[in-house]
């Protein structure tokens, strides 16, 4: 079944604090060597999707730099491949407020395609999903929309962006947006399937009436009016949602668990990323590394525990890194120590400096800063 992909690169920018000051949420570094978008883009590529539009808003330079010609994803194609879709602004349309409105910029691409179905996806969920199966289930269901969702995340207290309740046949029987969903409900993973034709009609019919929020103004509204049938694809494997600095921190730490890594990184469906040609990481005679993810190109002479160490990080002798995320190119000098801290790219922590955050409120040091 021919399928097109649409990826939203910055719907969650405003939730990510200092991490999105200089980049879109799609290009936030995760897991030692990835950017958030690598997961959804690799999932689409691994599912045989060869025509993908990436909707951007602002700050998308780092994203374009990261994706380049998309050859790492085998999406450097003469026909289709990846297209960037910056906001289409005229006198009466401005910067978009939500996914529905954002898709106006994708209309020409959607109309020019010949695919039967479209997968719409946010870029902030880390998982390994086979969209071929999702499409199959969608077709079988005969429904207008399929929402990919995860069970077991609701507790009645936490607000969910989009929660759904299903019957025994995985049909939605109720849904809520920004809603403290009770135990038993599923949480939408920001991935939707629709037929291309239906999606084009939807954009054309809703956006001119001031509707912009995909889940609230279209799916829920139409569902409640009994004009839309909604199928749910309950995703069974690990899915990590980066919806805030805190969840981002916890999700990186979750990757230290073997079962999480085994679910996310499978050799038959690899997660691709930009190749940077660093040398392997070097462990010095006194390096003490325990329960850490370590990318290539690091020089490790100090100690690190329960942490994610990105590419080209230098840990000098006697430094201490605990429960932290250290992004690419950062240097922790002799005797410095950090705990519950996120160092953005190219941060230098000078000798003798001690940085301490807390598990619920990790300290974030902005890109390029010396502390």
């Amino acid at each position: 079944m021919e399928t097109m992909g649409i990826i939203f690169s910055n719907i969650y920018d405003s939730y990510m604090g200092a991490l999105t000051e200089i980049r879109t949420s799609a290009s936030i570094p995760v897991g030692g060597r990835y950017r958030q978008i690598d997961f959804i883009l690799s999932n689409m590529a691994n599912s045989g999707i060869r025509h993908i539009g990436i909707i951007t808003k602002y700050n998308y330079q780092s994203l374009m730099d990261h994706l380049g010609s998309c050859q790492e994803w085998d999406l450097q194609l003469s026909t289709n491949g990846v297209v960037f879709l910056p906001p289409f602004a005229t006198g009466h349309t401005g910067i978009y407020r939500g996914k529905l409105e954002a898709m106006q910029t994708a209309l020409p691409v959607l109309e020019s395609g010949n695919q039967d179905y479209v997968i719409l996806a946010d870029s902030n969920v880390m998982c390994a999903i086979d969209f071929r199966e999702v499409i199959e289930r969608h077709v079988e269901s005969g429904c207008d929309v399929t929402v990919v969702a995860k069970a077991g995340l609701t507790d009645g207290k936490t607000t969910q962006h989009f929660a759904l309740r299903i019957d025994g046949n995985n049909r939605a029987v109720g849904m809520g947006v920004d809603y403290n969903a009770p135990v038993g409900d599923l949480v939408g993973m920001g991935m939707f399937v629709m037929s291309r034709k239906k999606l084009i009609e939807t954009i054309q019919e809703t956006v001119p009436h001031g509707k912009y929020h995909l889940e609230r103004d279209f799916i829920m509204e139409e569902f409640n009016a009994k004009r839309l049938s909604v199928n749910v694809y309950p995703f069974q494997n690990v899915a990590l949602f980066n919806q805030s600095v805190e969840s981002y921190f916890k999700n990186n730490m979750a990757m230290l668990q073997p079962e999480v890594r085994r679910s996310l990184f499978r050799s038959e469906v690899p997660i691709y990323t930009k190749v940077r040609d660093e040398v392997p990481s070097h462990y010095g005679p006194d390096a003490q590394i325990s329960n850490c993810m370590v990318a290539d190109g690091c020089r490790l002479d100090g100690s690190a525990e329960n942490s994610v160490i990105f590419r080209e990080v230098t840990l000098e002798e006697g430094c201490q890194v605990q429960d932290s995320i250290v992004m690419q190119g950062s240097v922790i000098e002799k005797g410095a120590s950090i705990q519950y801290t996120i160092l953005d790219k190219n941060v230098t922590v000078k000798s003798g400096t001690k940085l301490l955050g807390s598990p619920d409120h990790p300290l974030v040091i902005r890109k390029g800063v010396t502390v």
């Binding site: 997660i271 990323t273 040398v279 392997p280 329960n291 370590v294 290539d296």
Partner: protein
Amino acid sequence: MYFQKKRIVAMLLAGGQGSRLKVLTENTAKPAVPFGGKYRIIDFPLSNCVNSHIDTVGVLTQYQPLELNEYIGNGQPWDLNSSHGGVSVLPPYARSKKSDWYKGTANAIYQNIPFIARYNPDYVLILSGDHIYEMDYAKMLRYHEKMEADCTIAVRPVPMEEASRFGIMNTNEDNSVYEFEEKPKHPKSNKASMGIYIFNWSVLRKFLEEDEEDPKSENDFGKNIIPNLLGAGHKLYAYEFEGYWKDVGTINSLWEANMDLLGDHPNFNIYGSNGHKIYARNNAMPSGYIAKGAEIADSFVAEGCEVYGTIRHSVISTGCTIGKGAEIRDSVIMPNVVVENGARICHAIVAEDCVVKAGSRIGEDQEGTLEELKISVIGKGKTIAEGAVVAPGEII
């Protein structure tokens, strides 16, 4: 079709069997042998080409070319996927008359005269696919032009007492070559040829054609082409190279070259002093994971590894698992090897995709000179049974 004229074309000899690497080259060409955690030997000359702004490279393959061809692919990892030039894999091929395998290094280039001629280059650079080094060929070319040479040969100083093991260039004070001696009993100089030549294309072409007509020739650069050029009075110069260079043609030299990457002041600084990188085809592997209780000292560990055990003074390549209580010392572990709990590996090379079962032992801790060391070697895809013992120097 229009071919852009090139100033220089590189020809990389990658067809050798590499029989002294034994099981490591049983099913693969020597240039495709893994090196340094995430590279293959051929990455070094290919990256040197790109870092020297050479954009047209012919790779001459013959022995077990499948893996090498696949690895080179369209040349994209080295930015050699260009529409004008780029990398071309050149196997021997059947032609209307006189088809043959590559008989010698000179014959291999001779058979590809049409490939070189399409680019009408001023110079041809001849390289080997089994050397580990970083070199700026552009500097060598400037030297070649400055000396107005017909052929420039890269040389490196070797200890005088070892000179009789190498091809030696005897030079005048201005570094012009007056004699080439292959493994001389009484060496007159310590300038060993590195098997890297720059020729003026017109001169090389003439001598290749003449050499092919000579039925007694071995069709070899060192034995035939260089002496013939000298005999005809052409200008040959030795270009002295001071950096790290190693022929990794034997088990012990391959092991040593890997070890040379290690230490605070490594013999071969792979990080590069000049900002140049060594490029390689990458596998999409996640970051390495170093577990609680793992101990790693003075080692390289590449991405995609999971380490629970102990690693000392070793090179661990992409995608390996080192189990709990396993211990690896002074060894080279190639990609995707699984070392199970409690296995011990010492002074060994373990090739790709091997499984070293729990409690087995490979090699022993040893002292001695490089020649004396007995490196154990496990060939690609082998399984070492639970509790098995592989003796020092044993090859499986």
